[in-house]
């Protein structure tokens, strides 16, 4: 048995060189439908299955924030009616196959990968897991505790950068269904009972809200079979997607300072925008974002001026939609689409004594971007970069599949094709006009994670100059820029500046309002 398997593997491995990008031109054998997307690459030994459900943390009932995440965990870290979680992992182990779940505000995705040698038995397990999960009380207890620890321990105490981003989300989306972290809140998670999970699964994993994608070397008929199994095995929906209100209007520069022992000060800045990939203005803004702060590259102005010229920190970036880095790559994670998006700036931890200066610099640069826009040279260079770089988004079949599915959400063509086509027709004036329409520097949410929170609050309110400390002498050009930054007046709204001990963060969605 073992020998036979190895022969199969060796054969498959030889064919692997045909995977990568070379297979992407193949015509799909099974046509796509409203509920399925297929990327069939006969040369590939891998099969990736992504099943996206139109449900997320926006569907968490009041007081039970985290129910969507816990339900997803009960699939990704649970069993089937016939297999306990332990038995299931034992079955997948020799195949090195994986089943996991990814949650966000509006979409929850089951992501599975297997070598095609084992597709048939693997799929039976995956199907049972989605259609009839085990919902074992012991799994529930473990997953609930894990989720609770993710908020109480990991988020509050083990990762200041993520803490800053989630604090920004809380401040920006106060009173909005996006307000809670996707993982939930401390009180919300603890209030969930196993029956809530069962009911959530019945209501939100339905035949009417799924999209299945399969990529790789799967046999003809497989995708249609998966689609049919889901359509027949899931309950019909009793409700559509929750209606999203407009996010509240920010009033000046609103600040949430999370107080904790921190080796340096982490900051995130943002505000909601009325643009997503579904809108024409997304594409000119994509150029502006890349010019201003392309994620983890030296293409961005913020990165060059704050890290490159001044050595303030490790990196400084900007985004026009919710961005999560996909694993070890620097590319955006697929399958986290949202109907409402936000602009943000991420300032990675800065030594405390330079934090005020760094905040001022980021906001002054934002004002300059809005006021002056891009030069024709910046526009051309950035557009050329994006036209090439976006092709790297889809180096694996799995990632390409994810983007294909996201394009369904936004009701656009394939995202990378959209970038190619739309950017080609833009001018620098289009970009600068879109920047002026959607970006601004007056009404912002600022989240800060720092140690001496009250002192930082007083510093911000005083608007006193905040000269930086450098390791070295800097050029006259930088000193001249610094003169303007040091005294740059931040329009802090004294009524909307909060200091919150980290232990109070994410207890419930009511935190900010109750202060």
């Amino acid at each position: 048995m073992m020998v036979a398997r190895r022969v199969g593997l060796a054969t498959a491995l030889t064919a692997l060189c045909a995977l990568a990008v070379g297979c992407f031109g193949d015509e799909p054998v099974e046509p796509d439908t409203d509920t399925r997307v297929g990327l069939q690459y006969p040369g590939s030994p891998l099969v990736t299955i992504r099943i996206a459900f139109r449900t997320g943390s926006v569907d968490d009932p009041a007081g039970k924030n985290g129910l969507n995440a816990l339900t997803a965990l009960m699939l990704g870290r649970g069993g089937t009616q016939t297999m306990s979680f332990g038995e299931l992992t034992t079955a997948l182990y020799p195949w090195s196959a994986s089943i996991g779940t990814q949650t966000d505000k509006e979409v929850t995705t089951v992501i599975a990968q297997v070598h095609r040698d084992h597709l048939e038995p693997f799929y039976e397990i995956l199907r049972d897991l989605i259609l009839a999960p085990r919902f074992d009380p012991s799994d529930f207890q473990r997953n609930q505790e894990f989720l609770s620890n993710a908020v109480v321990s990991t988020l509050r105490g083990n990762d200041d950068e993520e803490l800053g981003k989630q604090a920004l989300n809380v401040l920006m989306y106060e009173g909005h269904p996006y307000v809670a972290p996707s993982t939930g809140t401390e009180l919300g998670i603890n209030a969930i009972a196993l029956n809530d999970v069962r009911e959530f699964h019945r209501q939100h994993y339905t035949r009417d809200n799924f999209l299945v994608g399969v990529a790789g070397g799967f046999p003809s008929g497989f995708l249609a079979q998966v689609e049919q199994d889901l359509a027949e095995g899931l309950e019909p929906a009793t409700q559509g997607p929750v209606t999203l209100p407009a996010p509240r209007t920010l009033e000046g520069v609103e600040v949430l300072i999370v107080k904790k022992q921190a080796i340096a000060t982490a900051m995130s800045i943002g505000f909601p925008i009325e643009v997503s990939r579904a809108d024409d203005d997304f594409y000119p803004l994509l150029i502006a974002q890349s010019y201003f702060g392309e994620h983890r590259t030296f293409n961005g102005l913020l990165m060059n001026k704050m890290r490159g010229d001044r050595g303030l920190n490790y990196g400084d970036y900007a985004y026009i939609e919710s961005f999560i880095q996909d694993g070890g790559s620097r590319l955006p994670l697929p399958n986290i689409p949202r109907r409402q998006q936000f602009f943000s700036i991420w300032i990675r931890p800065v030594p405390h004594h330079n934090a005020h200066f760094a905040l001022r610099q980021a906001l002054l640069e934002l004002e300059t971007l809005v006021t002056d826009g891009l030069t024709p040279e910046d526009f051309e260079a950035t557009r050329e970069f994006l036209l090439n770089y976006s092709k790297l988004y889809v180096q694996t079949a799995s990632r390409r599949l994810g983007y294909e599915m996201d394009s369904r959400f936004y009701e656009t063509g394939f995202y990378v094709d959209e970038i190619q086509e739309r950017l080609a027709g833009l001018t620098v004036d289009d970009v600068n006009a879109a920047v002026r329409r959607h970006l601004q520097h007056s009404n912002l949410a600022v989240a800060v994670v720092t140690t001496d929170a009250e002192a930082f609050r007083d510093q911000l309110l005083s608007n006193q100059p905040s000269p930086p400390t450098y390791n070295t002498t800097v050029s006259d050009e930088i000193l001249a820029e610094d003169e303007a930054i040091v005294a740059y007046e931040l329009a802090i709204n004294p009524e909307r500046i909060l200091v919150v001990p980290v232990e109070e963060m994410f207890r419930s969605v009511e935190l900010v309002r109750s202060q």
Binding site: G86, R156, F385, K391
Partner: protein, 448 residues
Amino acid sequence: MTHARMCVVAVMVVAVVTGTACVQEPDGIFPFPASVFELENGLKVVSVALDSPGIVAYYTVVRTGSRNEVEEGFSGYAHFFEHMMFRGTEQYSTDAYQAVIKQMGADANAFTTDDWTAYHIVASSDSLETIIDIESDRFQNLEYSEDDFRTEAGAILGEYNLNFSNPVALLQERLHDRAYLFHPYKHTTLGLLADIQDMPNHYDYSREFYDRYYRPNNSLIVVVGDVDQAELERLVRQYYAEWEESDFEPTIPVEPPQTRLRTDEVTWPNPTLPFVMFGYRVPAFSDQSIEMPALDVLSQLLFSETSPLFQKLYLEEQVVDVLDGGAVDSRDAPLFTIIARVTDPARIEYVRQAIVDEIDRMKVEPVDDGMLAATKSHMRYQFAMGLDNPGGIARTLSHYLQLTEDPATVNRVYRLYDAVTAEDIMHAATVYFADTKRTVVTLVQEGE
């Protein structure tokens, strides 16, 4: 038809084609033929041609990492130097270099480990000559001012700061400090905070570091993707031939055997669950000896999700929510590290003892054949499934090349995994996981 394709047809171990060795083994786990050539200055170039139209991954591997930081007070320089490599040359200033990267739309970055530093670019294959031009230039002609050097030290401190908001960074730092007395693995790749804070004052040392290690006979080029291997060889010879080799050999201190249990405890000032971390020094990487493969298989038997220990502590008793263990292939004896996050501070000692008990059981009870076969199958499929894009393949190949410079190493290692027996595992556990060779560090929340 490329050399690589000719090699496939030949189905032989080594074929020499125009001075280029072509390596592929029909029953090897690495499924792609690798073409190898070496310049007179010692620079070795390994390439794999794939059917990945338009995409190429270009890795420059320097066989230097924090292992080479042998002088007191200079930890973190291999990583620091990785940053400095982006600070420009006379021909391509920092801005000019970045403008070229931007124009290509390349995904370009670098990373440093204990043993090696990698500079990698994934870009359009049309850009191959441009990549070779800018990369060969900075490896031969790097120029940076003392001011640039001091400024970059701020970014290094920033990286330290962001890492050290995670308690695991502190735990690892302490574990390595306690597990080693002399060897540079005593400090982590990022370096010690005091040394990082002192970096701005050592511009001259940084130049010396470059002079010692950024040499062709200490480096490799790995190219994977849509590449014409004959053209690659022509370009590499054109751009890298003048790079001067060096005979510098660092003296890496030899670590004496550990003869008694070492323990330590650290506290964390913010909310956290407790962590327990174990370290055992295990053999350096070898593609000849069965010991390291036996320990890798053992790490699966102890800590995979199907292992009895995982099922007991994670699933049944739920006293941990993180449990993992293993060693990284290393040029000198690395730490086999075990980490557990304990869900209840009152159960720390229980978890610690449960891990020790399970290790002791593995010394005397042979693993059953089914479990051993499942583990080997898992490892082979896991490897195969990771080879799904040029960048991933280049990284995998680079990992093995930095260890031995031989592309056949990966196949040899996986043949060793296949050969591991229950007796090999018991032997490795007995020899390397003795109580006196254990270092344990515990992290708890301050005040608990």
